[in-house]
């Protein structure tokens, strides 16, 4: 009889429950990406403000900062930032509409198979568009950064 780990008293899924978004469909995946890109962008923003402030130390300081970031890894990282920024913004706009009750359908009299009207194709399309825009922005960024 193989013993398994007993869950904590409250049996809360906790942070581990956030780790597998695909079991609940696209809306859960977009929630997961929105959080991930948000935290990532905040960390990037703090680093960006700190690093770009080397400009006040003169031209030499600025150019040695550029040597650090204008590298292949620096460019690849920036492409990730572009993708994260585009997804977070586009999905954020979709979320602002849904939080205002727009694009979700109206309450009615549900009948079998009880498809929820809030998880409709408008929402799913919004998520897919955000992902596609993000990929397009990353592609465009790649062309610009590695294009020369």
């Amino acid at each position: 009889m193989k013993e398994v780990e007993q869950p904590s008293r409250n049996n809360l899924e906790g942070l581990k429950g956030w780790l597998n978004p695909s079991r609940y469909g696209w809306e859960r995946i977009s929630y997961w990406f929105q959080r991930l890109t948000g935290v990532f962008l905040l960390i990037y923003f703090i680093g960006h403000v700190y690093e770009t402030s080397t400009i006040v130390n003169g031209q030499n300081a600025w150019e040695s900062f550029l040597e650090l970031t204008q590298t292949v890894w620096g460019h690849l990282f920036l492409i990730l930032v572009i993708g994260a920024c585009t997804f977070h913004s586009a999905n954020g706009i979709r979320l602002i509409f849904t939080h205002s009750g727009i694009g979700l359908g109206t309450p009615g009299r549900p009948d079998y198979p009880y498809s929820p009207s809030s998880l409709n194709y408008r929402q799913k399309s919004g998520i897919w568009i955000a992902l596609i825009l993000s990929a397009a922005a990353m592609y465009y960024g790649f062309n610009i950064l590695f294009g020369e």
Partner: protein, 118 residues
């Protein structure tokens, strides 16, 4: 606990949405600054300094700083608040995120002022 809240959660969330939308516009302008000149020269020292001397661009940069800091640190506050529910944790999160936000805005503003003066 509820009595000494300065802002209701609904007001904080309205700020979160407004700063988010506004940030999209100003960040878009900031990114465009690298695309309207030849890309290789868009990060040259002289060009960047000339940007800092332009008062409109300075206002854009300051707006980005404030809007993104408020939106970002409020976001991290929300994520962290969901992880534990006791008074000490919540107070600590509120203090740390607000302090970090103010510190980042102050540091960035210093950069802008100094670069503008160069």
């Amino acid at each position: 606990m509820e009595s000494h809240r300065i802002l209701k959660e609904s007001q904080i969330m309205k700020i979160h949405y407004v700063t988010g939308i506004a940030a999209i516009f100003v960040v878009a302008i900031h990114i465009l600054m690298r695309l309207i000149v030849p890309f290789e020269s868009s990060l040259e020292y002289d060009y960047i300094i000339s940007n800092y001397k332009n008062i409109f661009y300075v206002l854009i940069l300051e707006s980005i700083l404030v809007l993104v800091s408020v939106h970002g640190f409020n976001g991290i506050r929300i994520i962290l608040l969901e992880l534990r529910q006791n008074k000490a944790w919540e107070n600590m999160i509120t203090v740390v995120t607000i302090s970090a936000m103010i510190a980042l805005i102050a540091y960035g503003t210093r950069t802008i002022i100094l670069a503008n003066g160069l």
